[in-house]
């Protein structure tokens, strides 16, 4: 009898740990989604800039705002900078996608484990009640 109840206690502790892990995972996923959203917005903005830069004449003056000052930039330089930035952002987005997928897999397996634990606790409790 006492061994049974201690087993149940152990299981419950385990369950608690797992649920903590799960909620952590969920937080990570949510964070990831937010970062992802930010990057997508930036990607859209950069693409817009690139489009406008492409439409500019060769001799147009382009400035970049760095801190409080506007620094004059070469159009070609600005163009290549923006391209690089877009590349970086797309790579970052891919990476984020992979991590999100990974996290979601982990989350699912954790959920399964938790479900199993709950079932075990329940069956133990019912057998205890019978005894």
């Amino acid at each position: 009898m006492s061994s049974l109840s201690s087993a149940v206690r152990d299981l419950q502790r385990e369950l608690e740990n797992k649920t903590n892990d799960l909620s952590k995972l969920q937080k990570d996923i949510a964070k990831n989604h937010q970062v992802r959203k930010k990057y997508t917005v930036q990607l859209g903005e950069n693409e817009l800039v690139l489009k406008e830069l492409d439409l500019l004449n060769e001799d147009a003056n382009v400035y970049k705002l760095i801190g409080p000052v506007l620094v004059k930039q070469d159009l070609a330089e600005a163009n290549s900078n923006v391209r690089k930035r877009i590349e970086y952002i797309t790579a970052e987005l891919k990476r984020l996608d992979a991590t999100v997928q990974d996290l979601e897999e982990k989350q699912n397996s954790k959920k399964d484990a938790i479900l199993k634990l709950q079932q075990r606790i329940q069956s133990l409790q019912t057998s205890k009640a019978k005894a």
Partner: protein
């Protein structure tokens, strides 16, 4: 049997509890509200953009403008705008470009287009959500009223055979699985009974009918299918009728054959016609289950098929259980499923053709074609 055949009745409330539906509806409403807010924001942007375009357009009209320059939060001092055709336009990401008024307007217009497309997609989304919300609202109302969902599998046994398949199939799949042999035996006995009854009944009716047939050969073959359509559904409910008809037909065949002799004068000419019409009809009947009036003797072939089919039915019975399940997925429109039927009909037909007459086409003709004739 008949009862088991009729589908299931589920109250809508048990499928979609009112509370749950209400929750879902609330969620959708919330989503709509969110999208609306976004839409308002977007509309604000578009408005700003348009104002800006107007301003940029007007500024270069003068060489300079007298304005009040904001200084800090609350102070202004008088100043002058010069270089009214030079704009420093923020392209995004900290990049600025020096542009003239005209060029600036172009940039702004391109931005406006982007905003417009966003607006369109948002509106489409809101429309979708509203449709969803309407659906939930209706469901709630219906569930609250205690509406009931009645589901009845569409069983197309009718086509195959009036014969055995009718009643058998109609029993819900579970029933069939449980005791197919039993059912089958019952069916057979029932068919026997019916056959007897019909024999008695038909001897009277045949003569009149035969004459009619000859006259209306075309009409009949053409009309039958149409007439039968409504009946089809009825047949399903009754279950038994198909069997009767099959029997009737078999009897009819016999009687027809007899007839030929007495009315030789009238009928000799038509005999061939008759035969053909019979053939056609037989097919129609077989495929469609249209058990027209029992007295259709034309269906001679049919009967024979059916009887044979009955013997063959065992094998068919076995695969029948699976059919109802896919039947339910098919549209409830009565007659279009041809694959299964065709197979069966062809079986029946081959036997028929050999027996009845060489002239009949032995391959299965599409039901649609037959109807057209």
């Amino acid at each position: 049997m008949e009862e088991t055949r009729r589908g299931t009745v589920t109250s809508l409330a048990s499928l979609f509890p009112v509370g749950e539906a209400q929750k879902a509806a609330n969620r959708v409403q919330y989503a709509i509200a969110e999208k609306r807010a976004e839409l308002d924001r977007l509309l604000g942007f578009i408005d700003d953009n348009n104002n800006l375009i107007n301003l940029v357009h007007k500024l270069p009209e003068e060489l300079s403008h007298d304005i009040m320059v904001p200084f800090g939060k609350a102070a202004f001092f008088p100043g002058r705008l010069i270089h009214t055709n030079e704009f420093l336009v923020l392209l995004g990401e900290g990049y600025y470009a020096e542009r003239t008024s005209k060029q600036t307007t172009e940039i702004l217009k391109r931005r406006g287009k982007g905003l417009d497309s966003q607006l369109d997609s948002l509106e489409a989304m809101i429309k979708d959500l509203q449709a969803e919300a309407m659906f939930f609202g209706q469901t709630i109302a219906e569930a609250a009223e205690g509406l009931v969902e009645i589901r009845e599998d569409y069983i197309e046994d009718s086509h195959k055979g009036e014969t055995k398949s009718g009643p058998l199939k109609q029993d819900a799949p579970d029933l069939e699985k449980a005791k197919p042999d039993d059912e089958y035996a019952r069916m057979l006995s029932r068919m026997d009974e019916l056959e007897k009854e019909e024999l008695a009944a038909e001897s009277g009716g045949d003569n009149g009918k035969n004459e009619q047939t000859t006259e209306d050969v075309d009409d009949i073959s053409y009309q039958r299918p149409v007439d039968n359509e409504p009946r089809n559904s009825e047949d399903f409910h009754k279950g038994a009728p198909p069997v009767d008809q099959a029997n009737n037909k078999s009897m009819a065949t016999k009687s027809v054959e007899k007839h030929c002799h007495p009315d030789v004068a009238d009928q000799l000419n038509f005999a061939s016609l008759d035969l053909q019409s019979n053939v056609r009809e037989g097919k129609n009947a077989a495929k469609k289950v249209k058990f027209v009036d029992h007295i259709e003797k034309p269906l001679v072939h049919h009967e024979e098929k059916q009887v044979k089919a009955a013997t063959a039915s065992k094998s068919e019975v076995q695969h029948q259980p699976s059919q109802p399940s896919f039947d339910s997925h098919k549209a409830f429109t009565g007659s279009i499923v041809e694959h299964t039927e065709n197979i069966k009909t062809s079986n029946g037909q081959s036997s028929t053709s050999s027996q009845v007459s060489g002239s009949q086409p032995s391959k299965p003709v599409s039901r649609f074609k037959m109807q057209r004739r």
